[in-house]
């Protein structure tokens, strides 16, 4: 029996496990060790052909001060602060990770002068197919209310994991499930 096919097969079988497991480990670590930040956002309801229904999460605050010569399309690190309203605010952008404080690895979508638009690393909150039509209607009714919809994100070592969407401190999923009963 030739050893090469076995070797290649074993390597690829292992790699096919390692790739998703690594993702899981990183995200579980962020969820358990990360600092909680709340982003006020808008959330229309699109459809991902590959992964199904989700709510597109777009934080209202998405501009920051770019570093000198920041090229568009490249990744950078944005410092996170909390405003007087309790919501997260993007601070300075830098090419290297800040030495202290919480920060996120983001992409610079557009930069001109002292203004940069950033692309947050969390942009979707997945929904059950059954809840999606109801979620559409619910969001249309509540998106412009004073309380607004809030994305709860755990941040650790530059990585952010969207853990929940809330409205008036209640999970949006729980609200929708309660309504559907």
């Amino acid at each position: 029996m030739k050893p090469l096919p076995w070797l290649v097969f074993a390597s690829i079988a292992l790699a096919q496990w390692i790739a998703p497991l690594l993702q899981i480990w990183r995200h579980e670590r962020t969820i358990s060790h990360g600092t909680l930040f709340k982003f006020k956002c808008s959330a229309p309801d699109p459809y991902d052909l590959l992964r199904g229904r989700y709510l597109a999460v777009r934080p209202v605050e998405s501009s920051a001060m770019p570093p000198a010569g920041a090229p568009m399309g490249q990744n950078a690190f944005v410092e996170l602060t909390v405003g007087s309203d309790g919501f997260a605010k993007p601070g300075n952008l830098s090419i290297t990770p800040p030495t202290s404080g919480d920060y996120l690895d983001v992409k610079i979508r557009y930069a001109f002068g002292d203004h940069a638009t950033i692309e947050w690393p969390f942009d979707r909150f997945y929904l059950n197919e059954k809840l999606a039509p109801q979620a559409d209607q619910w969001f249309a009714e509540h998106i412009r209310s004073d309380k607004g919809i809030v994305a709860e994100v755990r941040v650790f070592n530059g990585r952010g994991v969207l853990t929940d969407l809330t409205y008036d401190n209640k999970s949006v999923l729980d609200i929708l499930k309660a309504q559907s009963k």
Binding site: Q16, A19, P20, I24, P71, M72, F122
Partner: protein, 443 residues
């Protein structure tokens, strides 16, 4: 000959032996020489395997997804990994069979495992609400599928890989990303597949279906790299970048046309060489467009802009090598066709005014296409490898295009069209007669 021709020949041999057309010894020699390759992946095998794998994978995911909300996160993760585990166990059984494994088994398990790996990545990213762009997911997916091509010699996964890398390269044409995350990576990704290595031996030629996908993938993938090479920095939109990218694509297709082949490869019919068909059609279409003065001006500006990029110099170096090899193999017809891509380069040094005038290029392009048409005819008449009907068609098209662009009266145009049409029909008749005479002489 491909396996279907071999099978046909083997079916005929007993009848030929019975009729006394060939001796038993000759029949045996033919049987050994043209043995049917039952291990090869037929198109039907690949399609059936792909359909089966798709349906099984989709069905499983849909069944799990129906009750998705009822499960905790660990249970969902279990469901994400379960199909991967099952397909890996199935694959393991086929690996143990080695070369004794039937083609449909190899194709099915390889494709199932590739889909299961992709589904696992998707489900994990859904469970954790991961953002990110779809090309990033595609990149991880095709890299995790590539070794399955090596292990199972799977044509279906090879086709998936070729399509996926081309789609990814076309999507990665934004400036700003490092080269290894951009369309510039495409040539390396292509090398990852070709030629099904490691441990590759030229056991049999690639199937025609795979060749077409390979040629199409190269056209789009290298085209993506050409567009990226000509793009300005983010936020900048250079005026000539599109014309430059189109010229680089034409250089790429000229290179595809001249891709070095073995003597057996050169002797194969053109239909089995899709890189030649696609490349020649693109180059000649580009040449036809260059006969228009306004387009010629854009082409010259584009070529001048493209020559500032490193990509164009790399391409020229590679094609230079191909040209030398093609001259060695006396592939004159293809050399004539590929030469269209270099005409703007030859003219650029003589263009002193800005913007350059397209007059010279448009006239020379028309003359060059006329010369190519004649060359393709004359080569055949001289007994070399040409393509007389294609040459005649090219001449006809050139005349139609140029007349359509002229200010001649409708009466004159109509008369010329009539004459050209009659000449084309007469030529076709002459070539048919010549072929029949030649076959008669051989028999």
């Amino acid at each position: 000959m491909d396996s279907s021709n071999n099978r046909w020949l083997l079916q005929q041999l007993p009848e030929w032996e019975r009729q006394g057309l060939i001796s038993s010894a000759a029949a045996q020699t033919l049987r050994e020489r043209y043995a049917a390759d039952d291990g090869g992946a037929g198109v039907s095998h690949v399609i059936m395997a792909a359909l089966g794998a798709l349906l099984v994978g989709t069905g499983l995911i849909a069944l799990i997804g129906y009750n998705w909300d009822q499960f905790s996160r660990p249970t969902r993760l279990l469901f994400a990994f379960l199909p991967l585990l099952v397909t890996q166990v199935l694959s393991l059984r086929v690996v143990r069979l080695g070369s004794a494994a039937a083609t449909w088994k190899r194709e099915s398990v390889a494709l199932l495992q590739a889909f299961a790996a992709g589904a696992c990545l998707l489900l994990v990213s859904q469970i954790y609400n991961l953002g990110g762009d779809w090309p990033d997911f595609l990149f991880a997916w095709f890299l995790l599928s590539l070794p399955l091509v090596w292990v199972f010699r799977s044509e279906a996964v090879a086709i998936f890989y070729l399509v996926a890398i081309a789609v990814w390269a076309v999507a990665q044409t934004d400036r700003g990303a490092p080269w290894h995350q951009s369309a510039f990576l495409y040539p390396l990704l292509l090398l990852g597949l070709f030629p099904y290595w490691p441990g590759w031996k030229a056991e049999r030629p690639l199937s025609v279906a795979l060749r077409w996908v390979l040629a199409g993938s190269a056209l789009f993938g290298l085209g993506g790299a050409a567009f990226l090479a000509c793009r300005g920095n983010p936020g900048e939109y250079p005026q000539d970048s599109l014309a430059a990218a189109l010229w680089l694509m034409t250089l790429t297709t000229a290179g595809m046309t001249l891709l070095p082949l073995s003597s057996a490869g050169i002797a194969r019919s053109t239909g089995r060489k899709p890189q030649v068909v696609l490349g020649a059609l693109w180059v000649l279409g580009y040449g036809m467009a260059a006969t228009f003065r306004e387009v010629s001006q854009d082409i010259l500006q584009g070529a001048a802009y493209a020559m500032k990029t490193g990509w164009s110099w790399g391409l020229l170096g590679m094609i230079g090598g191909f040209v030398v090899l093609a001259v060695g193999k006396q592939r004159w017809a293809l050399l004539a066709i590929a030469s269209v891509a270099f005409l703007p380069l030859a003219i650029l040094p003589f263009q002193t005014q800005q913007p350059p005038s397209g007059a010279l290029l448009s006239v020379l392009a028309a003359l060059q296409l006329f010369g190519i048409g004649l060359t393709l005819i004359v080569l055949d008449l001289l007994g070399r490898r040409g393509s007389p009907r294609f040459g005649a068609l090219l001449l006809c098209l050139l005349i139609i295009v140029r007349l359509g662009d002229s200010d001649l009266s409708l009466l004159t145009k109509g008369s010329i069209f009539l004459l050209v049409g009659l000449a084309f029909l007469a030529f076709n008749f002459f070539m048919s007669r010549r072929r029949q005479t030649s076959l008669h002489t051989i028999s």
